[in-house]
């Protein structure tokens, strides 16, 4: 599948954030969006997720696609466990609990799976948010600075898990780190 973004523009209170952005994205690739803070990465993601409307421009290939996301903030339900946070967004199935648990123990200590998310560290919450995004069916995965709060070793583990889960999918990741592009074997896009 392809995602075609044509002449996309967005302003907030007269301040242009996205100015005639054109992108051609193809599934099977990981695209790393780079650019300074305020360059419009999150705005572009929010438009793709349907949370914002563009002022002008077109996006083709989005309507038929299933989309998943890791937001810039964790956006987890703090009173619930990591397993509950993952299963609550999964389509109803009897094997959800086991599937979520198996995925979570790959990146998190098993002892924290029964605790409410509010009791976890920032890095752990980030991993829960990443696993939540990866366990729903998707064609396009959007990840807004997913490695924030992760140490180097954990980041390596998370990246290899993302690469494993996203084979053949279209992935858009925003990052400030050049090395992330290399680790992800990604395609760099400057905004």
């Amino acid at each position: 599948m392809e995602l075609l973004i044509r002449q996309l523009s967005k302003s907030f209170d007269g301040q242009t954030v996205l100015n005639h952005v054109n992108l051609h994205l193809v599934s099977g690739n990981i695209y790393c969006l780079m650019g300074p803070s305020g360059s419009g990465k999150t705005t572009l993601f929010h438009i793709l997720l349907g949370l914002l409307k563009a002022d002008s421009g077109k996006i083709e290939g989005l309507r038929k696609s299933k989309i998943s996301a890791v937001f810039q903030e964790h956006r987890l339900c703090e009173a619930f466990t990591p397993i509950e946070n993952v299963t609550m967004v999964m389509p109803h199935s009897s094997g959800n609990h086991k599937k979520a648990k198996n995925a979570l123990v790959r990146l998190l200590p098993a002892a924290c799976l029964d605790r409410p998310v509010s009791a976890l560290s920032g890095g752990m919450k980030r991993r829960v948010a990443i696993i939540r995004a990866l366990l729903v069916p998707f064609d396009i995965l959007i990840m807004d600075e997913p490695f924030t709060g992760l140490d180097e070793d954990t980041k390596q583990e998370v990246i290899s898990y993302i690469k494993e889960q996203c084979e053949g999918k279209l992935v858009l990741i925003s990052t400030h780190q050049e090395e992330d592009v290399e680790l992800l074997n990604g395609i760099k896009i400057h905004l």
């Binding site: 997720l49 349907g50 949370l51 989309i67 998943s68 996301a69 937001f71 903030e73 956006r75 339900c77 009173a79 619930f80 466990t81 509950e84 609550m88 967004v89 200590p109 924290c112 029964d114 605790r115 409410p116 509010s118 009791a119 976890l120 560290s121 890095g123 752990m124 939540r132 729903v136």
Partner: protein, 261 residues
Amino acid sequence: MKAGIFPFKKPGIILFWLLVWQAASMAVHNNIILVGPLEVLSALLRQAGLPDFWKTIGYSFGKISLGFLMAFIAGIFAGGAACRFPIIGDLLSPLMALIKSVPVASFVILALIWAGSENLSVIIGFLVVFPMIYIQTIAGIESTDPHLLEMAKVFQMSELKKFFYLYRPALLPYLAAGSRVALGMSWKSGIAAEVIGVPLHSIGEKPYLAKIYLSTADLFAWTLVIILLSMLFETIFLWLLNLASPGIRRKKREGGSVWNS
């Protein structure tokens, strides 16, 4: 540490005020104006021995609790509907303002004319509690994190899941706070309505009779019964409401520690 130094602080304070009360009643030396705690206790024991004591308690407890529970459920539904469909909120807004501003005594008289005295405390309990729960429900729903609602939209969560995982945790603290106030108010207004309407076999009938017979000890004894019933109902209801909080058993087990790794 504090408990070690003053292990009997609370009972001591209660005892102190009971002694002040007893001393005041002895100083006044008039059982109609002020009875002492021992006479109240004796009146209470005498009342408890009467055959219709528990029937009276059951009658009023049932009616006031029914009024409260009906208002609690209706308030949640109406508040939820007002958030979902703003037109319902607009329609209910003048009604809520009216219910909140009209004195309870006026409602009691109206309810007596319209429905008689039998279900008076149900109606009054309902009218006092309904606006409180309605307002708290709206505030609770509106306090739901908009970021989580966006997350739910992206992941296409069903309405049922949104209610269970997003709205419920936001709503419950507001409902608990509203219920604490509403529970006390429902008992005060329910009994006041019974005192005015004097339905047969109600608790409200007893203070009314105590007034006629100038039996201050009975009045105090029944007041004590009302306070205890109100506390009992509040404790049971808030415990049940607490059970609906997400992860309540887990929280008790784990405590509030934060994982720092």
